[in-house]
């Protein structure tokens, strides 16, 4: 289980998530979103990030959380990630961006297989800085899973 050195933490439906700060390219205020008809809820829109067309994804959908309306603090975190081996720029919706934190000395646990509302395999680890509860999502798996679902839907259609 590899834990990034520095993480960016953000809030989503009352929970705190952390992603590798290395992967983050920039943080934007919510731009105009173009809905893609028929696209899965997890990646339902497209945004223009300085001339590049970037899919906008919502971890809240992947984790089956309540989908909050975009508010004053809502931001889009633009990250670089590998999707099926292809380097891809992706936008993530966050209710609020919190902090960039060092992970050194922070206790990290594996996600317990039971006792959670979410799919355990979507969570790479849970960090406990100062007794808080911070989720490190397995973005690669979540992206791969969402693509697989999209393909299945397409087949069915």
């Amino acid at each position: 289980m590899s834990i990034p050195e520095r993480v960016l933490t953000f809030a989503l439906d009352g929970e705190i998530f952390a992603i590798d700060a290395q992967a983050v390219r920039e943080i934007l205020e919510v731009p105009a979103i173009t809905r893609v008809p028929g696209a899965p809820g997890f990646a339902s829109g497209l945004i223009n990030v300085r001339g590049a067309i970037v899919p906008l994804t919502d971890l809240a959908v992947a984790f089956g959380m309540a989908h909050a309306d975009h508010g004053e603090d809502t931001r889009v975190i633009v990250i670089e990630a590998e999707v099926e081996g292809e380097p891809t720029t992706i936008g993530l919706v966050a209710d609020k961006v919190l902090d960039v934190a060092a992970m050194e000395g922070v206790p990290v646990e594996e996600a317990p297989p039971v006792g959670m509302r979410w799919r355990a395999d979507f969570i790479r680890a849970i960090a406990r800085p100062q007794g808080q509860f911070v989720i490190l999502p397995d973005l690669e798996l979540i992206f791969a899973e969402s693509l697989a679902t999209a393909t299945r839907q397409e087949r069915a259609a």
Partner: protein, 658 residues
């Protein structure tokens, strides 16, 4: 250039040499007495050997030497350029490519393979000896013999021998031999001195003054001897002159080292000049705009509009010029298939003649690159499955030689590339039987030829089993179709039993920028490629309220099915009172798309969708509009298929109810 990797430069040069050798060999196969072609092959091999040795490709030099010797015999009339010899040298050419790819280290496995080729080469030469045709040697030689040596210290004074040599080469065909015997051992070599002197044989209509002009700035203190060439008697060994050419390669790579092949495009100089002019104008327009922006007080609207119009015109021109630079003639692509067809003919034992038309048709560079693989597959198919063996052909009253035609032409915004064979044609019944067995079509369903043949593009629909008993190779036809579609192209098949098959690829001229019609559906804006839009009409009032029972429009007596994009895209934004229908057509399909509003035409730069949305089907890409928002580009081909499927479903459901 000097900081470039010399080995990379050699590879580029070698690739060009091998290409020209291959082309000459293939031409020679059809015209074995053409001495010009024999010379060309010989020269290519010769230069390759020389520069290979220079850059440390020892194995390549040794191997090439044998092929060169073989062709030297052909040149001198001791042996004949037989088909067997050409075949061996072609495979030797591939071996040379492999030797170059391996690099200077060498590879024992390759060496062994090389030995095998060399022994068959020897056999081929031995067999063709004696059958040789005496060849006529060039009798007239006009030109000069020049030898020159720069004075000591001239390099330090800024004299560079390379431009001088280049200039001489510009005058006529040159054989340049650097004389290296005065080069001292490394320890005593002064790097700023030029120790090399040159012997040059220049052929062509050149006067002594022309040559002296070249040396005009250095002629005073240099050693320069210019003597007219004496006509050489026939029987003399002209080879005496030719080895000189080996060394010719030595100064060359330094003088004109080309950038690595994969990343370079040859662009006509005038196109570059044009581009430069536009950029210059753009800079001026920009500074006018900057001045306006910096000016105090209200901006004069007219001035602003003038600047805006200028920039609009310039960016359109810049776009066109830049696009033109990306265009390449399809001849480059067709050239690659000559070898393929030659090899296929040998593998299958058929005689195949390759005919090409319209090589000058220009297509975007990316399209050409991505077209090679699918076309190789289609050509293989035609040669393997389409064309019959010579005996079968004669039996069915055709000429024994099968003919494969590649043709290209431009039609509107599309380029059509057709692969035609005059073989047996596609067996309709077998395709139908297979399609029915796989449940792709209903038994007894009435299908047009075009629709039926599209079945062979279905994944898992083995063309081999469907059409002949020969085994299929490599990628399937579904992969071919997908790669053509990824270029926003389509494939049409036409086939006449016993007469042959034509596969036509419809490809867009360019991938990057297209004209689009911008429409609004609900609150979303979408772009439809203008090349497929046929007309726009208003949705008749009677249709507005009708349920999705009978989605047909009567357009001047023709029934056109239509799709309500509002339903397709599931929008709940209130509909416009007067909806419009954009009638689009591609291939045989014609369909109306009902939209809320037609916004207008726009130029769009196509951006591909990420993996998350690429499988969506309804969209082929996205673009950024003037206001910075993203608009999706409709994939009309897919929408038509969806509409037709929908219509069939509706029809079947209606049948069940009744």
């Amino acid at each position: 250039m000097s900081e470039d990797d010399p080995v990379a430069a050699f590879r580029v040069e070698a690739a060009e040499l091998l290409d020209s050798v291959e082309a000459a060999l293939l031409d020679l196969a059809g015209d074995s007495t053409n001495t010009g072609l024999v010379d060309e092959v010989f020269r290519g091999l010769h230069t390759l050997k020389g520069s290979g040795a220079m850059f440390g490709f020892e194995a390549l030099a040794r191997f090439t030497h044998h092929c060169e010797t073989a062709f030297d015999r052909v040149r001198k009339g001791h042996a004949e350029a037989s088909q067997a010899l050409i075949g061996v040298v072609l495979s030797a050419r591939d071996h040379m490519q492999a030797l170059i790819d391996v690099g200077t280290q060498g590879d024992p496995m390759l060496e062994m393979a090389g030995e095998a080729i060399l022994s068959s080469l020897e056999k081929a030469v031995a067999n063709s000896e004696g059958m040789a045709i005496p060849r006529a040697m060039p009798t007239e030689r006009k030109g000069w013999h020049i030898s020159f040596k720069l004075p000591p210290g001239s390099m330090a004074n800024g004299t560079n021998p390379l431009p001088l040599l280049d200039e001489l080469r510009g005058l006529g065909d040159c054989l340049i031999t650097p004389r290296l015997d005065e080069v001292p051992p490394l320890a005593s070599l002064v790097p700023t001195e030029c120790y090399i002197y040159w012997d040059i044989v220049i052929e062509g209509d050149v006067t002594c003054e022309d040559i002296e002009d070249v040396f005009i700035f250095v002629i005073d203190d240099m050693d320069l001897a210019i003597t007219p060439l004496i006509e050489e008697p026939e029987s003399d060994e002209p080879v005496e002159v030719l080895p000189v050419a080996t060394v010719l390669a030595a100064p060359q790579p330094v003088a004109k080292a080309a950038p690595p092949a994969q990343e370079s495009v040859r662009v006509a100089a005038e196109r570059l000049d044009e581009l430069m002019n536009r950029v210059g104008e753009l800079v001026i327009a920009q500074s006018r705009l900057a001045q306006l922006a910096a000016s105090v007080g209200p901006v004069n609207e007219l001035t602003l509009r003038a600047v805006s119009e200028d920039i609009e015109r310039l960016s359109a021109e810049l776009r066109d010029t830049t696009m033109a630079m990306r265009m390449m003639p399809v001849g480059n692509l067709f050239g690659r298939f000559r070898r393929l067809v030659h090899d296929l003919a040998r593998e299958t034992g058929k005689t195949i003649e390759l005919v090409t038309h319209g090589e000058a048709t220009e297509v975007d560079k990316t399209v050409i690159e991505r077209l090679a693989d699918p076309m190789i597959h289609l050509i293989r198919n035609s040669c393997d499955h389409g064309l019959e063996t010579a005996d079968d052909r004669v039996a069915s009253g055709k000429s024994a030689t099968g003919r494969l035609t590649l043709s290209a032409r431009q039609a509107g915004g599309e380029v059509l590339i057709a692969i035609t064979d005059d073989g047996r044609g596609i067996d309709r019944e077998r395709v139908r039987a297979k399609a029915e067995a796989q449940g792709l079509i209903q038994p007894g369903a009435i299908l047009g030829d075009g629709e039926l043949f599209q079945m062979i593009f279905h994944p898992g629909f083995s063309t081999a089993a469907a059409i002949t008993n020969l085994s299929g190779r490599g990628v399937g036809m579904d992969v071919v179709k997908r790669s053509i579609e990824s270029l926003r192209g389509t494939i049409d098949i036409a086939s006449t039993p016993g007469m042959g098959t034509t596969m036509t690829l419809h490809l867009p001229l360019t991938l990057a920028i297209i004209e689009c019609m911008l429409v609004r559906v609900g609150e979303g804006r979408y772009a439809i490629p203008l090349s497929v839009v046929e007309e726009c009409i208003e949705l008749p009032a009677a249709e507005v309220t009708s349920t999705a029972r009978r989605n047909f429009l009567d357009v001047r007596g023709e029934l056109v099915p239509y799709l309500r994009l509002r339903d397709t895209f599931g929008t709940d934004y209130p509909a416009d009172l007067f909806q419009k229908v954009v009638i689009v057509g591609q291939g045989r399909g014609r369909v109306g798309l009902v939209v809320d509003q037609i916004i207008g035409n726009t130029q769009t730069v196509i951006k591909s969708l990420s993996r998350f949305h690429a499988g969506q089907g309804s969209f082929s890409g996205a673009t950024i509009l003037g206001d910075g928002n993203v608009a999706l580009i409709l994939d009309v081909g897919n929408l038509i298929v969806a509409a037709q499927k929908n219509q069939r479903l509706l029809g079947e459901r209606a049948g069940e109810v009744a």
